[in-house]
């Protein structure tokens, strides 16, 4: 190999290699945290999106920003599944693993299919690097990888050669090798490199030498794959027959932020987001902070508690007020969140769940904050809990969270998770003009003779009026002490306290009248219903749909709303012999359902490994009940 290939790519002689058509492919990029694997994966995803495939991604990275180079804890991976049909998971195991170093190989062997392809950067399989990755022997030289097709490529050298005429420092050249690898993958799966080249030109516009080198690396990788005999064939994945419409690639946290902005716009309100940085929720803040021209104000508070407090203050002022965090942050917010429950102010709390307890595994996903969201406050403190199911669904559910909060004057917890927050998929864009208006009514006149009563409720929704400070004649006081009905004055009256607690609970229950009924996909009754919530949607969807296609009697349903449940939930559940509830926790929704519907035969499938469900794991469990 030499750099000629990069330079002469326009005159490359095309050998007509075979192009095999495949339905679905899973690719996993893995390297050191400094190797740019997330970026490489993103670029592969962007191109795949533009080429019209459905896809789902799983960024899987360590909490350490730069763990010691070449070590096992420092491995950062990115998995994408793309297909010619509709898919919702990043794939159980990879068809192709690109391993940039011995550590990436070691960590990811379990993630590759038997007979799958492993492309390794042979250049860095030195004794020293092998030792860092705790390899006793060089796995490229023994039978460690006998179950796989291994392709040894001297990525580092090839990149160096390709860029030898570029005026870059050696370390900068070294950093281009991920683009070389990306070029190989583009060729292997018949993807164009044009989108990535556009991106490189935009991204590094101020440094033309970097632009040139990166582009050369991508093309060199592409041509290397094309010309050499290492790949007998190329693969293509036909365009997915997605619903007609305009699409973009979207990440869950990004969709969450955009959904909130859309809701604030439709409520003709400004948006306030008070938060404290925490993985994996911080990207919601980053996204919102970019959009100040949408009347967005972001406030990076001194701690989680202050973030919650400021959000309550903004809600008191009459604006759309949100805060975001992850599990440990929700613990800190709970006292203040309870104030919002008592004061009946509309706040939305985003919890992008991560693996716990305590600090847990910050970059890994889990769904174990459901009971915390439901009950993690002192006293009787019901609020609304809802959960998006996919990255793009975050938009819809963020919008819903705001709509419900202001309509019912109630705090709403939005339970996302690291898997959908960081994952991406194609998003069929909504018609902006069709987004519903969110009606907000701030009283301007007293509501009881010449008096304003802050707790005189709407008879339908039981929402209290939302008078804004600054409105003449409606001066009133609210607070965390027990309130008298209607006036909101401090009250220790026993009967009144019972009444107010009942009213707040009843208000949350009435939200059920305002949300869609649960929909079942599959047989209307029978052996097994699989029901999930949040980010497990994709794995359940794929598992059940495949089994249905095989003629098995299994249905699925998904809960976007957990408190209150959809009004027909009980009626649906009792039509099945077994209700299977897969969750990335030890059975939290299962507990809620068993408590509320004790006669239903509900069973759980639990996993707390920081990783999403694999499709086969769910299928195996379903089989047990058929």
């Amino acid at each position: 190999m030499n750099s000629k290939i990069a330079e002469d790519q326009s005159v490359t002689e095309k050998k007509n290699k075979e192009v095999k058509s495949v339905n679905t492919i899973t690719v996993r990029f893995a390297g050191d945290s400094g190797d740019g694997m997330q970026l490489t994966g993103d670029q592969f995803t962007d191109t795949t999106a533009m080429m019209g495939n459905d896809f789902a991604t799983l960024p899987d990275y360590p909490a350490e920003i730069r763990a010691p180079i070449g070590t096992l804890p420092g491995v950062s991976s990115f998995q994408i599944q793309f297909s010619d049909s509709i898919i919702f998971t990043p794939g159980d195991a990879a068809d192709v693993l690109v391993a940039m170093n011995p550590a990436a190989l070691k960590v990811n062997i379990p993630n590759v299919k038997k007979d799958g392809l492993i492309i390794v950067n042979e250049s860095v399989f030195t004794e020293q690097n092998l030792r860092k990755a705790s390899w006793q022997n060089n796995p490229l030289l023994d039978d460690t990888l006998k179950d796989f097709n291994v392709l040894k490529v001297k990525l580092s050298e090839l990149t160096k050669n390709a860029l030898k005429d570029h005026p870059l420092k050696l370390t900068e050249v070294e950093r281009c090798k991920n683009f070389f690898a990306l070029g190989i993958m583009f060729w292997l799966y018949s993807r164009t490199f044009d989108y990535t080249i556009d991106w490189i030109q935009r991204k590094f516009a101020k440094r033309p030498e970097i632009v040139n080198a990166n582009i050369a690396a991508v093309k060199a990788g592409y041509n290397f794959a094309d010309i050499t005999e290492i790949f007998p064939s190329q693969y293509c994945v036909k365009q997915t027959r997605l619903e007609p419409g305009i699409y973009r690639k979207i990440m869950g946290n990004q969709a969450t932020a955009i959904g909130f902005i859309a809701a604030a716009r439709k409520a003709q309100k400004t948006l306030f987001y008070g938060t404290y940085p925490i993985t994996p929720a911080s990207t919601v803040l980053h996204e919102l902070a970019k959009h100040k021209n949408y009347d967005v104000k972001t406030f990076q508070a001194e701690d989680e508690i202050a973030a919650m407090g400021a959000t309550i203050g903004a809600a008191f002022a009459g604006e759309i007020a949100l805060t975001g965090t992850s599990g440990p942050g929700l613990c800190l917010k709970s006292e203040a969140l309870n104030l919002a429950v008592m004061a009946e102010l509309p706040v939305v709390v985003v919890n992008v769940q991560r693996s716990g307890p305590s600090t847990g595994m910050p970059t890994k996903t889990e769904q174990a904050d459901l009971l915390q969201a439901m009950y993690g406050r002192n006293g009787e403190s019901p609020l609304v809990v809802l959960a998006p199911k996919t990255p793009s669904d975050c938009f819809q559910m963020a919008f819903e969270a705001v709509r419900i909060a202001v309509k019912f004057m109630v705090p709403v917890i939005f339970l996302s998770d690291g898997y959908i927050g960081n994952g991406s998929e194609p998003w069929k864009l909504p018609d902006v003009d069709q987004l519903p208006e969110i009606k907000v009514n701030h009283p301007l006149q007293p509501n009881a003779d010449d008096q304003y009563q802050p707790y005189k409720r709407d008879p339908q929704t039981l929402a209290r009026p939302w008078a804004r400070p600054g409105t003449p004649g409606l001066e009133h006081r609210i607070g965390g002490l027990a309130k008298a009905d209607l006036t909101g004055n401090v009250s220790y009256d026993p009967e009144n306290n019972q009444k107010m607690i009942n009213l707040r609970a009843e208000k949350v229950e009435r939200v059920a009248q305002d949300i869609p009924e649960l929909e079942v996909f599959g047989p209307e009754k029978g052996k097994v219903l699989v029901i999930g919530w949040g980010g497990t949607f994709g794995a359940i969807y794929q598992a059940v749909n495949q089994m249905q296609a095989e003629g098995k009697s299994v249905a699925r349903a998904h809960l976007n709303y957990i408190n209150p449940f959809p009004r027909n939930l009980g009626e649906v559940l009792k039509r099945y012999e077994t209700v299977l509830i897969p969750e990335l926790n030890m059975g939290q929704l299962l507990n809620l359902i068993r408590f509320k519907f004790p006669k239903v035969n509900s069973e759980g499938l639990h996993k707390v490994q920081g990783q999403p469900f694999k499709v086969y794991e769910i299928q195996e469990k379903i089989e047990a009940f058929l």
């Binding site: 419409g245 699409y247 859309a262 400070p469 600054g470 009133h476 607070g479």
Partner: protein, 342 residues
């Protein structure tokens, strides 16, 4: 509303700021004087009543908002500055007052107080300091004397106390003052100045808890001692005190010391008070004048100007709109690259 006309002409009396709630502090509590002085001070201003918001945390003094006929929010322990911050960020027109105490503001909510001040959030913070936990029935507070006997320190508090004004200075508060419940005239002057100040105003109010820490400030502010043990700060003037106005303060290197005016000659050596002293070590030095070694200063320690957080926050929205145009929802949703499926 019967008061509509009155609201329009914006002339108020104390009664206009008095709510219909029965005040439930102990008889003789210093909070009564603070409440009345706040109400009287607000009545002197032509600010519509509906534009005032009082936000408090937990503690005796934090019941304050219930007694004010304004907007009010009695929140949770230590968090009042955070709620006020959120309110201020989205509403630039209100006059927002935070009522806190030595436990609420300096112990459980210490973090928020510090950050609220460093941001120069445009709020008026009144820290009612009685050097004791009252509402929880008599435990020592972060400002209690070292060795103070309380219900939770029967052998004497072994905590060293914190000086509220030092915290304010370290946090770079732009307006810092101290006043006392026993001098409504001085308190009213300080409150008015706090209100007029753009940016964060931090006012410590010495307040007597008649039940759990009676006469805590008596040695300084008592009728017999106050002339010799209190200094009322006046901008541009020497720190003169004493029954016969015959004593002043001068600096001996970094240490303030008392001098007889008679011995001070032409007064050139005397310390002259400057509220707008750019160096925070000057007001800090004043905070170190404590009983019993030194007379204790009251008044405005610091008043400087600096852009407020809320101002800059709003400014960024304006600038962003100027640079990118008013946000277009469709553009946001579509992002930078889309594809069409037919």
């Amino acid at each position: 509303m019967s008061s509509t006309f009155k609201d329009l002409d914006l002339s108020y009396t104390k009664d206009d700021f008095t709510s219909n709630q029965e005040v439930r502090w102990c008889p003789g509590c210093g909070d009564y004087a603070i409440l009345a002085t706040v109400q009287r001070t607000l009545a002197k201003n032509a600010i519509p009543r509906e534009n005032y918001v009082f936000i408090s945390g937990i503690g005796c003094s934090s019941r304050f908002p219930y007694y004010m006929n304004t907007y009010g929010f009695h929140t949770i322990h230590g968090r009042a500055p955070t709620i006020a911050t959120g309110l201020r960020c989205v509403n630039p027109d209100l006059s927002i007052w935070v009522i806190t105490g030595d436990g609420d503001g300096l112990s459980i909510g210490g973090n928020h107080l510090v950050h609220c001040m460093r941001r120069n959030m445009n709020l008026n913070i009144l820290l009612v300091n009685n050097q004791i936990y009252g509402l929880t029935k008599g435990q020592y507070s972060p400002t209690s004397r070292h060795g103070q006997i309380t219900n939770s320190s029967p052998m004497g508090a072994i905590d060293y106390p914190i000086n509220a004004l030092c915290i304010a200075i370290a946090s770079e508060a732009t307006f810092i003052a101290r006043t006392l419940d026993g001098d409504p005239k001085h308190m009213s002057m300080v409150l008015q100045r706090a209100m007029d100040h753009k940016g964060v105003s931090f006012v410590e109010i010495y307040q007597n808890c008649i039940i759990f820490n009676d006469k805590a400030f008596q040695p300084v502010t008592g009728r017999d001692s106050r002339d010799d043990r209190m200094i009322y700060l006046e901008d541009g003037k020497p720190l003169v005190f004493g029954k016969h106005k015959d004593k002043a303060i001068r600096l001996n290197r970094l240490k303030p010391e008392v001098v007889d005016l008679q011995d001070a000659g032409d007064g050139e050596s005397l310390l002259i008070h400057h509220e707008d002293h750019p160096d925070p070590s000057y007001p800090y030095l004043l905070t170190q004048m404590t009983y019993p070694e030194m007379p204790v200063p009251f008044g405005i320690f610091r008043a400087i100007q600096r852009p407020t957080y809320d101002e800059m926050l709003n400014d960024q929205v304006v600038k962003s709109k100027a640079a990118k145009g008013e946000g277009d929802l469709k553009k946001l949703i579509y992002g930078t690259s889309t594809w069409t499926v037919k």
